[in-house]
């Protein structure tokens, strides 16, 4: 083999070695950055979703609707302190819904979702303003988006009985869809008016499908 070629191969070998060492270091640094980012994320979540406590808080059993299988939500009874003020009460149950699903599989809303604000109009319309994460980190699909809105709506109506409908905003704005499918330009019904019971109809279980077609919606 000519001398020049040997030198060229030698230089090439050294360059590959240096490159591999540098890449390993770079990989470690990226991993470290990821760790910092996730702990920052946790800190941000804790700041954005502080525990809400009011002077009228009383320990009650709240019904929080998490996923109960791949295509439906069902209530889980949680003993927690809830305010007598409907706005604070609504915030408390939504924060619980976001923060503490019993298992990761039961989560219906992205973990990074923050409830930025919530208002209740005199006609019973709840306006819930969520952070971008609710939209940007939502698994895409009618099924997943339907379950997300269903869990929000059913959790609100089960714990704040004065609410009549729900409007969802993302980062303070009305958006066309949640994550490409579910229409967020309108309202979602809460606590629909009672209908007379159907004669001979069996009592239905309190579970709901992905999109709020509650088996027992007239609570």
């Amino acid at each position: 083999m000519p001398r020049n070629l040997r030198i060229a191969f030698g230089i090439l070998g050294v360059a590959v070695l240096v490159g591999l060492i540098s890449l390993r270091g770079l990989h470690r640094r990226i991993e470290h950055l990821g760790d910092i980012q996730s702990s920052d994320e946790q800190l941000r979540r804790d700041l954005l979703a502080p525990q809400i406590s009011t002077s009228t808080d009383v320990k009650v059993k709240a019904a929080i609707f998490w996923a109960a299988g791949p295509d439906r939500t069902a209530p889980v009874e949680i003993e927690m302190a809830l305010s007598a003020d409907p706005v604070q009460r609504a915030k408390q149950v939504l924060l619980e819904l976001i923060k503490d699903p019993p298992t990761p599989e039961q989560r219906t809303l992205p973990a990074n979702t923050a409830l930025a604000s919530l208002y209740i109009l005199p006609d019973g319309t709840a306006i819930a303003d969520f952070s971008d994460a609710l939209s940007s980190e939502m698994p895409s699909g009618i099924l997943s988006e339907g379950m997300a809105v269903d869990s929000i709506a059913r959790t609100l109506e089960s714990n704040v009985n004065t609410l009549r409908r729900l409007k969802i905003l993302i980062h303070g704005q009305e958006v066309e869809t949640l994550a490409g499918h579910l229409d967020l330009t309108g309202f979602f019904d809460l606590n629909p008016p009672a209908l007379p019971p159907v004669a001979g109809a069996p009592p239905a279980a309190q579970t709901t499908t992905a999109t709020g077609s509650s088996a027992n919606p007239r609570r």
Binding site: G141, L182, A210
Partner: protein, 216 residues
């Protein structure tokens, strides 16, 4: 002559829809589904229109406008989710919220003049019937699928002034994207049977074309 079937493969272009870890992308999966369904429907002698045949992304309104251009059409938008049990299928029809204070005057205004945003409102009942007919067919081919359709505010359906449904197949989250291709044929057969079972709404006499007086 049966209805014109408007098949809508959802998403397209930069809007990829759901993405699976194995590389399946919703926009491509549903386009393939729509092409197979088109063949099956045409074999039944039905006229089929697709809202897209390539990687374009028509707006929601453009997709609705294609369906609204026909007098006797049904609109079927096809989706593939990122969640749910693999090889299950769900059918959805649009659900409008209840008015807070129902007023007879308001409802008569709706029937006389429907806004573009509310175009589907007059078709909720036939859409529900179509959705249930389709769900029954899909449940026969996709074990584990629900028996009945579900009301949901799917954006693509809202401005369609025809019976309109969304079908969503679970899911793109499969390790082997080729396994999704095997769902295309049973889906196409289910759609063709569902359309055949469904009876489109009869146009009321007041809306039906009236022959000129004296015509023989």
């Amino acid at each position: 002559m049966g209805p014109v079937v408007v098949l809508d493969p959802a998403h397209g272009g930069t809007d990829t829809g759901a993405r699976g870890a194995g590389g399946a992308v919703e926009k491509d999966v549903v386009l393939a589904f729509a092409r197979t369904a088109r063949g099956e429907l045409e074999r039944q002698g039905l006229r089929v229109v697709m809202t897209r045949t390539d990687d374009s992304n028509p707006s929601y309104d453009d997709r609705a406008a294609m369906a609204n251009a026909y007098r006797n059409a049904i609109f079927i938008t096809l989706h593939a989710s990122s969640t749910g049990t693999f090889s299950t299928a769900r059918v959805y029809y649009y659900r409008f919220p209840n008015p807070l204070t129902p007023s007879p005057a308001a409802s008569s205004t709706i029937s006389a003049l429907t806004t573009w945003e509310d175009a589907q409102r007059s078709y909720v009942d036939p859409s529900h019937r179509l959705a249930d007919a389709m769900q029954v067919q899909l449940a026969q081919h996709f074990a584990g699928s629900p028996a009945l359709s579900t009301p949901v505010a799917v954006r693509e359906l809202r401005s369609v002034a025809e019976p309109a449904i969304a079908i969503e197949i679970s899911s793109v989250s499969v390790s082997d994207p080729n396994s999704l291709a095997q769902l295309a044929a049973p889906l196409a057969v289910s759609i063709a049977r569902g359309v055949a079972v469904f009876q489109p709404p009869v146009i009321s006499p007041a809306k039906a074309p009236v022959p000129a007086s004296g015509a023989k």
